[in-house]
Amino acid sequence: MTRRFSLGAVTVVTFLGLWELLGRTDALGDHALPPFLATASALGRAVAAAEFWMAAGHTAVQWALGLAGAMLVAIPLGLFLGLGRLRHRVTRSTIDFLRTIPPVMLLPLFVLVWGTGLKMVVLLAIYAAVWPMLTQTITGVRQIDQATMDTAAIFKISAWRRFWRVLLPAVSPFITSGVRVSAVISLFIAIVCELVAGSPGIGQLLAQAQLGGDTALMWGLILVTGVLGVLINTVFKTAESQLLAWHPAYAKGQ
């Protein structure tokens, strides 16, 4: 544990040191990469202003609504489609086609219909975040063991319990990994909308910093976004290991 921690610390320090060096020597040219310390101080100034926190709040709300909305659509729909062989066969190619369209391509269309406000961002985030959870849930249902369903049938388990205590737990490892991927996608879409369409949020601050030629702040905000992504992933992974304590992959001591 401590060893892993110190190894991580060494990696981070080396990385930041390298950044500082590349920045000072202007390795990228055009002052595109300011030194790390300059970036940090620009970020420090930004963080002290209320504007940053308002933007962060917008991004957070859009992210959360996008993810929650996608969960509400994808999980029930995935269970429904996965449970019927015909339903699954009929919809599979459509789903495969739709999910390969990069969601960002739909941004102009969404802006045209819903403008650049919160509603548009959330809708696009939902659209983008639905796919991983939907396909994972369907896969999860399809792989349920016949033995599990036979057991439920033999012991005459009621439909209610069959759903909550057999089906859902059996699919849960697939759902949670889908949710983890979708959480990052929802954040990504929120920030892209802010950046490209000018919806309020961290992405918008980034666009403004770019227009104002403040490269140090730009890098600072990129850093913030990256940290947010890692944070989300970590939080969801931890929650997952709590929820799936029964699963061999999360067995204690592994």
Binding site: A147, T148, D150, T151, I154, F155, K156, R161, W246
Partner: protein
Amino acid sequence: MTSFTTESSIMDTVQEAAPSSPALEVSRLAKSYGKREAAKQVLADITVSVARGEFVCVVGPSGAGKTTLLRCLSGLLEPTTGEVLVNGHAVDGPPDELAVVFQDYSRSLLPWMKVAANVEFPLLEKKMSKAERKALVGQMLEAVGLTQHAGKYPRELSGGMQQRVAIARALAYRPTILLMDEPFASLDAQTRAELEDVVLQLRDDFGVTIVFVTHDIDEAVYLGDRVVVLSGTPATVSEIVEVCFPTPRDQVTTKALPEFGAIRGEVLTRIRDAKQQY
């Protein structure tokens, strides 16, 4: 107190069924998988009747159709032709008073429930108080020697222990008929002998009718009141051998009886004869 309530509930279920009918009646059952040209017939013209409280073993080579037969008996699979009666009632779908210990026990336990919860789960559908349920689960786990492991997940147990959980779950359900599909096939000889005696003991304690599939002839002769030999493609009942040893049976003395060797020999001959015919 607990033993009183559990015994009385067994009596209730037994009395509900028509008293004169056998526990299980299979008449002219045939089963094919697939449709039309692709159809593959697995079972043909199976007729067997199992009396209440009887222990019937079904033997036959791998792929003969033993699991298929059991799935038809349990209402999980619809026979192509013929009929199955459980306690006098035609089977369509799993009957109330029947439980199954599946061949693949490790997959039939629910991995997200701890041992006690797995045993308790089917009981949630019955009209029982929480206290009654807990008492019954405790009693059954004790019967299979797993009291200390009640709080573990199935994956933390060995194969033999998982199998005991499946047996405890089936028995806690209080079936009048228990179907067991090669339940001990993947266990070591020692555990196997132990569990064989556990099942015999439970049969004596609770008066359950048992149909036990195995490909081990010694096991079939040791456990069964009768041994049904399945063979051929499609499989038919080629022989029913009566086993008449004194009860209670004992791993050492019963297997040392001269009759044990004789009956074992008879079953073996029947299987060989049946093989030569095809």
